[in-house]
């Protein structure tokens, strides 16, 4: 037995203290680090998709679908009802339009005016849009209806955020 391999009392105490101290420091730091990076880890609400309707309900005629979304304001959290006009176009692709008139924010209706059976019509100031949501020049709105991002998963249609489009 050589004395050199022996751990002296001083060394033993040093190792133990560093070990225990390290554990304690880590125990304190870990939650702090977790809190610090927490905002980065939360999923972004803006990119969320919500299930709206089964895709076999969709037709070539625009239909109105409603769903609810949690919205957080500065002061309170609330449930907000969202609406979309959804249909399949000639290429069988799903189109989801926001019903909010780009003029002053009324809700537009599909074919509600007898004179314009194939257009979106805004009852407030007579704004009109073609089926693909493009505003008709000469009516008050200056931009097309925004489109929702769409996603299909397991035969359900999911809608995300809206994208505005440039005016006609």
């Amino acid at each position: 037995m050589s004395d050199k391999k022996r751990v002296s009392r001083r060394q033993f105490l040093n190792y133990t203290l560093t070990g225990v101290g390290g554990f304690m420091a880590a125990g304190m730091l870990a939650p702090m680090v977790r809190f610090a990076i927490d905002p980065v880890l939360t999923p972004q609400a803006a990119g969320e998709f919500h299930s709206v309707a089964p895709i076999d309900e969709l037709t070539n005629e625009p239909q109105r679908f409603e769903w609810q979304v949690e919205q957080v304001d500065a002061w309170y959290e609330s449930k907000v009802q969202k609406t979309a006009w959804v249909y399949r176009d000639e290429n069988d692709e799903i189109v989801a339009l926001s019903p909010i008139c780009t003029h002053l924010g009324c809700t537009v209706d599909w074919a509600s005016n007898q004179e314009y059976p194939n257009q979106f019509y805004c009852p407030c100031h007579g704004g009109r849009y073609t089926k693909d949501g493009v505003n008709i020049p000469g009516t008050p709105p200056t931009a097309p209806l925004p489109v929702y991002k769409t996603k299909v998963k397991e035969n359900m249609l999911y809608l995300g955020e809206t994208q505005s489009r440039q005016g006609a």
């Binding site: 003029h103 002053l104 924010g105 009324c106 809700t107 009852p123 407030c124």
Partner: protein, 151 residues
Amino acid sequence: MQWTKQDTKQYLPEKQYVDTVLIPLIPFDPASEQKMIQEAFQRELIQIFTNLIEKEYRGRIFLAPEYHYLTNQHEEEITRVNKWIEHFQQQPFQHIFLFTLDPKWKRYESHLIGHLLWIPGKANGDLQSTETQSFVKEQVKQVNELIQAYW
């Protein structure tokens, strides 16, 4: 549009398009214990109603601050309601709707300068229930058609 900073800011430059104002008339009487629950319920109901109407037509309808009055004091209130209406007319708003669930206003309708819209509400119920929701949605749809008839 509503009586908020954001909406009023949007309203002023677009005045020409917003020609309708909706004033909710809401009775309350803090002295009467039996009526309190019912009146509070009716107040919530009318707020849901008017918010839905405003949401649908926010580009043309301005939702005024709620007009509260003590229950059954209609005669004394007429001058004050009319004063509100006159001030709105100075904006100028052309169509003034008074929205209420209180049928007693009907007797004084001819003294009021605005159109009185009385809706048969519900005496009691659960605002969260799907039954109330479909009831309110259906009625809002019809009130919207009625308002369109004035435009």
